[in-house]
Symmetry: C2
Subunit: 123 residues, 2 copies
């Protein structure tokens, strides 16, 4: 019963926290998903994602670029064109991310129900 | 190039945020992983996880119980015995969680390197 868990898995607990702190939010996930089919310009990303502000989109794109998930390419045209593309690193994240999104969508109702039950027990 | 992403996946962006806000931290993940082989008492969990404080372990266990990931069973013995066990919901989360942990472990170095490169370009 007290078998030691897979040590390999958690030798360094930092990476998972570091990754989730940066990209474990809806905007990052929505941007990565929107870029999955291919390169997009800023305004096209705005349209795809819908209810994101310009500021939040800019800030999240910058973080994703810093972390190596996307590239930003500026074409010095008039007006300047800026395009965003998933890197191989960003693309490799899509699969585990989608599994987690599917799990969350499937089980979110059960989590909310559990909270309600727990709350009822405290009253 | 501007194909609409899988609408199904992101009809409600809230669940993923709600799930990650609560369990997307190293302590929650370490506790779930420690309970994967079977039921554990509080002190055994302390030993398994290592550098967690009593307060942090208590608080995280309570959140996991509230959200329905684990059950807490009190045996009214002397001294009282308290045991923690994964629920089917908690167990169902192990697989997507482990995929994400493996991804983070594998690619964390690349993320750190990307940040260093980005930083260098700003200077």
């Amino acid at each position: 019963m007290t078998t030691v868990p897979d040590e390999e898995m958690f030798e360094q607990p930092c990476p998972i926290r570091d990754v989730l702190d940066r990209i474990g939010n809806q905007w990052s996930l929505l941007i990565l998903e929107a870029l999955a089919p291919g390169t997009l310009r800023f305004n096209a990303l705005m349209r795809e994602i819908g209810d994101i502000s310009k500021q939040m989109l800019s800030r999240t794109l910058k973080q994703l670029e810093q972390d190596g998930f996307i590239t930003r390419t500026l074409y010095p045209e008039v007006p300047p064109r800026v395009e965003y593309t998933l890197t191989p690193l960003g693309r490799s994240f899509l699969e585990p991310m989608q599994q987690l999104v599917v799990w969350a969508d499937t089980h979110h109702g059960a989590i909310v129900a559990a909270r309600t039950r727990y709350q009822a027990l405290q009253e």
